[in-house]
């Protein structure tokens, strides 16, 4: 193999670039023992470890996670989730590139794609701590389904085990995803179908084989769950309870707000950006390498195209920046809008450039690129709309990696004429990656303090895990530990009713039993009605033994009327076991235990 100095330098640079992409996952790894979200993460752990007690869950992610042997240790769980996130994401990037480019990838490109993929997976940390939540498991399964689909498009022999294996993996992970995030699973099925039709060489025989082995993979998941986890009627009962819970609780306002913003954004793009996009696309098309080859006697065409493209780009940046300024107040959200729009622009440019391409092969390549970009953006949006108002920001950040993937493919395509320029484009992405990492460290999701302040060793759940938390949160957990010590033997622990409606982690930490649901959510329209619904499932004996976590001064506190209606007066019939400042809800909580019988 002859390697000249220039190639060697480029390989070295690309290798280093890969290491930069790995910087993000590595910095996540060293911080994996820091921070603990007391709300949603509490919900997830309560769901996992008290699965048998819970009868109100619309999403069945513990079914999936319980197929993987895991210990009762938060850190080990995080390591597992994080490894799966990075691995599945890296595999997806590699398989997607192979499916689009249809040729053997250079080792250095494989390295770059794998690193970028791992970096993309690591971004989940920014979006959420990598605990085994339905979000994390959903993302892993989505990457597996999507990766398997990409692989299926490149395998010609439908009778071989690689094809069958990929189909079974799609089916297996697909049913897991359906149990974890049903609506997302449906969207993902649609995306995968489009992807397959777009990229694979279609034949009916192949389709029959595909369906057969997808069904087999799904059946395998089903059987494993039945054998190792629980029978279907129990799951159905739980789902029914979960649906009832959602109906009682009503709409989550945060998600509704997120959709409203997306709607506004699309309206503004439609009204202001098309001409700028057209100009950029035309410019991009005229300056494309294929055009230059075809019109070798007209260099002005390429130069003119480049100028048009540049003007269009500047125009678009201005429009996008202004619109993001007008739509949202948070600086990071503004950046997110900007990046999403950049991703959308990449897709549209790909479509137009393909339409104007000088030959069939170049056109196919551009359109594939546009198609894959569109699907990746769609997937990005799907994976970020997970019941949180923060989705815009996360989508934008994740879009960095969508753009990165597209750029890497462009880099590969253009390597004969503009490798250095393409590499420079990729290098420019280091800046947002560094910015993302910095933001992640200073504003970890759902945590009140930066990672640097999460320094105090804190024993969680009676010593099953030791995490580093900020001093206030540590004080909160320590107080709860003291209270938990008074709860009695582990197998006889009572139900803990959380009237703050925001601290399900308290129940997990104190090893108390949940009240049929992992989380009685406050601040929803139907929260009080839901508490009443939960109380109605509880026997008199269970209620008489139950402990209560109350937050009397909290604005979203659940009304204890259903408890009082059963003859239990919070002031008279309970004693205060401990009080603590709960930093997450910024108010004091009190843990109440029933007064011993006969006490005044």
């Amino acid at each position: 193999m002859n390697i000249d100095r220039r190639t060697l330098a480029l390989m070295l640079l690309s290798g280093l670039l890969g290491l930069v992409f790995l910087w993000l996952p590595l910095s996540v790894l060293v911080n994996l023992n820091r921070g603990l979200d007391v709300s949603d993460t509490g919900h997830y752990y309560a769901s996992l470890y008290h699965f048998a007690d819970i009868r109100m869950m619309s999403t069945q992610f513990p079914l999936v996670w319980k197929l993987i042997p895991h210990p009762d240790n938060i850190l080990v769980n995080r390591l597992l989730v994080f490894a799966l996130l990075m691995g599945s994401s890296a595999a997806l990037f590699l398989l997607a590139a192979k499916a689009v480019l249809r040729e053997t990838l250079l080792p250095i490109l494989k390295w770059l794609l794998a690193c970028a993929g791992a970096g993309g997976g690591a971004l989940y940390y920014y979006y959420w701590l990598p605990d085994p939540s339905y979000n994390a498991i959903g993302v892993i399964l989505m990457a597996l389904v999507l990766g398997a689909t990409f692989a299926l498009t490149t395998i010609e022999n439908q009778h071989g085990w690689p094809f069958r294996g990929a189909a079974m993996l799609a089916g297996f992970a697909g049913l897991g995803l359906a149990a974890t995030r049903p609506v997302t699973a449906m969207a993902m099925a649609l995306i995968c179908a489009i992807l397959y039709l777009m990229l694979a060489r279609f034949s009916w025989q192949k389709l029959v084989q595909l369906i057969l082995f997808v069904v087999l993979g799904a059946a395998l998941f089903f059987v494993l769950v039945q054998v190792f986890i629980e029978p279907l009627p129990v799951t159905l009962e739980r789902i029914q309870g979960g649906l009832q819970k959602r109906e009682i609780l009503g709409t989550n306002q945060l998600v509704a707000k997120g959709f409203t913003l997306l709607q506004k954004e699309i309206t503004i793009i439609r009204q202001t950006a098309p001409w700028a996009l057209l100009l950029t696309s035309l410019g991009g098309a005229f300056s494309a390498p294929g055009v230059a080859d075809r019109f070798a006697n007209a260099p002005w065409l390429r130069l003119g195209g480049a100028a048009m493209g540049a003007i269009g780009l500047i125009w678009i940046q201005m429009i996008f920046w202004q619109q993001s300024q007008a739509l949202v107040q948070v600086p990071l959200d503004k950046l997110a809008y900007y990046l999403i729009n950049l991703g959308l622009m990449a897709i549209l440019c790909g479509v137009f450039a393909g339409a104007l391409a000088p030959n069939k092969d170049t056109r196919r390549l551009y359109w594939r690129l546009a198609g894959v970009s569109a699907l990746l953006v769609l997937a990005t949006l799907s994976l970020t709309v997970f019941g949180t108002g923060y989705w815009i920001r996360k989508a934008g950040i994740t879009s960095v990696f969508v753009v990165l993937a597209c750029t890497l493919m462009a880099l590969h395509m253009a390597r004969s004429t503009g490798y250095i320029w393409a590499l420079a484009m990729v290098s420019a992405l280091i800046l947002p990656i560094m910015a993302t990492r910095t933001t992640m460290v200073n504003h970890p999701y759902r945590l009140e303090t930066p990672l640097a302040a999460q320094t105090q060793k804190t024993s969680i759940r009676g010593g099953y895990s030791t995490l580093r938390l900020d001093p206030l949160t540590k004080a909160f957990f320590d107080r709860l530990s003291d209270a938990a010590d008074q709860m009695g033997p582990m197998d006889q622990r009572p139900i803990l009713i959380d009237l703050s409606g925001r601290l399900p982690m308290a129940q997990y930490h104190m090893q108390a039993r949940p009240a049929f649901t992992p989380w009685i959510l406050s601040a929803y329209k139907g929260s009080d009605a839901f508490l009443a619904h939960v109380m109605a499932q509880m026997s008199d004996e269970e209620l008489a033994r139950a402990w209560i976590l109350d937050a009397p001064a909290y604005k979203h506190r659940l009304d204890p009327a259903p408890i009082e209606a059963r003859g239990h007066d919070l002031a008279r019939d309970y004693r205060i076991v401990t009080t603590a400042m709960a930093p997450y809800i910024k108010t004091d909580i009190v843990v109440l235990a029933p007064q011993p019988k006969g006490a005044e």
Binding site: L472, A475, D588
Partner: protein, 390 residues
């Protein structure tokens, strides 16, 4: 032609200077954004939680000043006419004033000349049948002989109280100062290691005193119980006052607590640098730290052979732009001290400390240039006066 007075020398090193950073500003911003600036809010509770965590106290109540915390102590113990409280004579006025306000008599006892803390034997000698409590002051953040005082109080059935105004973060045998007695008081005044301008805290270590202390802070009402859902409406229960710190000040305090380790480390570096330079000087008496004490570098003080030398040194330092300061006027010699209290004996060590002690500038934001200037100026004075032998 009128002679104008000579220009005052430019102040190049202040005596103390608070060190506020991003954390304080962020917390301040959050308090404003939160909109509730009355006392007892999120920022106050956060400070209290951090102090409870670090001291192991049963309950911490943030107050507008250490003076307020001391007054709360007197109220909580229901001290009044006919009661006596032993206090060191070498302390700030608030230590005695809090008890005099309730009609109790502060009895001034002498100090240990090495640590400037209340002397155990002097306290023992001051005990009378009227004595209800002994109030310790941990001078310069260096702990008193705690085991001896705990035993003394147990022996005479007295309440042990701690004025830990200067002792935030300091320990005795691994236990936080302020957490030994029934109650402890801390200061977050401008001059302290951790500050919010004006502020204090009451540590309640005796569980039986938690409720009375909460009542007293909230104008004598059981509002704290009401906020915990224990009573349906709050009412006047005991004598009390408004001893709540504003959330704005509490926000600054929270930021300071978050940086406590950094701030103390910076002070300790300066303290140790002073001690390396002046500890070996034979003509000076420098701080003596008992083996059981883990101090917080609150004060670095020198003691000269006599008052004339001390005053000359202070004037020399001031002339060179370095601010130094003596410390307390012995309380038993003051007009109010004579009127409301009484001295137990002659208190020679107190008099000597008041006449010979000089504090050097010490603050966490002190630059190396400032530190060098202080040391060089002091060394120049020592040389000029033939005191620089070691």
């Amino acid at each position: 032609m009128v002679n104008s007075p000579p220009p005052a020398p430019t102040l190049r090193v202040p005596f103390c200077q608070p060190d506020y950073g991003t954390e304080e500003r962020t917390a301040f911003e959050e308090a404003i954004t939160g909109g509730r600036l009355e006392g007892g809010g999120v920022q106050t509770r956060a400070c209290e939680t951090l102090m409870e965590q670090s001291t192991g106290a049963e309950r911490v109540l943030i107050t507008p000043s250490c003076t307020a915390a001391l007054e709360m102590m007197a109220l909580a113990l229901e001290l009044g006419p006919g009661d006596e409280v032993i206090v060191p004579a070498f302390t700030f006025v608030s230590t005695a004033n809090a008890f005099a306000l309730r009609g109790a008599v502060p009895v001034f006892a002498d100090i240990d000349p090495l640590t400037m803390n209340l002397d155990v034997e002097a306290a023992r000698a001051a005990i009378t049948p009227k004595t209800r409590a002994i109030m310790l002051v941990h001078y310069a953040g260096v702990g008193c002989e705690m085991e001896a005082f705990v035993d003394l109080c147990a022996e005479h059935n007295l309440v042990l109280l701690e004025d830990a105004a200067q002792a935030v973060g300091a320990h005795w045998n691994g236990k936080a100062l302020g957490s030994f007695g029934a109650m402890g008081a801390f200061s977050f005044h401008h001059t302290k290691n951790i500050t919010c301008g004006e502020g204090g805290a009451l540590l309640v270590n005796d569980p039986a005193l938690v409720k009375p202390a909460e009542f007293i802070r909230d104008k004598g009402t059981d509002r704290a119980d009401f906020l915990r859902g224990q009573v349906s409406k709050y009412e006047w229960r005991v004598l009390g006052s408004s001893y709540l710190l504003s959330e704005l000040a509490a926000a600054v305090l929270l930021g300071q607590f978050q940086r406590e380790e950094t701030l103390t480390k910076a002070r300790m570096r300066i303290w140790q640098t002073y001690d390396e330079h002046f500890g070996p000087v034979n003509s000076l008496r420098t701080p003596q730290i008992p083996g059981a004490a883990h101090h917080n570098a609150h004060i670095y003080h020198l003691r000269f052979a006599n008052q004339a030398l001390r005053d000359a040194c202070a004037a020399f330092m001031r002339a060179h732009g370095v601010m130094t300061a003596p410390h307390y006027v012995p309380l038993h010699t003051t007009p109010a001290g004579r009127k409301y209290g009484r001295a137990s004996g002659q208190l020679p060590h107190t008099i000597d400390a008041a006449q010979t002690l000089l504090r050097l500038p010490l603050f966490s934001a002190m630059s190396d240039e400032e530190l060098v200037l202080v040391i060089d100026t002091l060394e120049a004075f020592l040389h000029q006066n033939g005191l620089a032998t070691s």
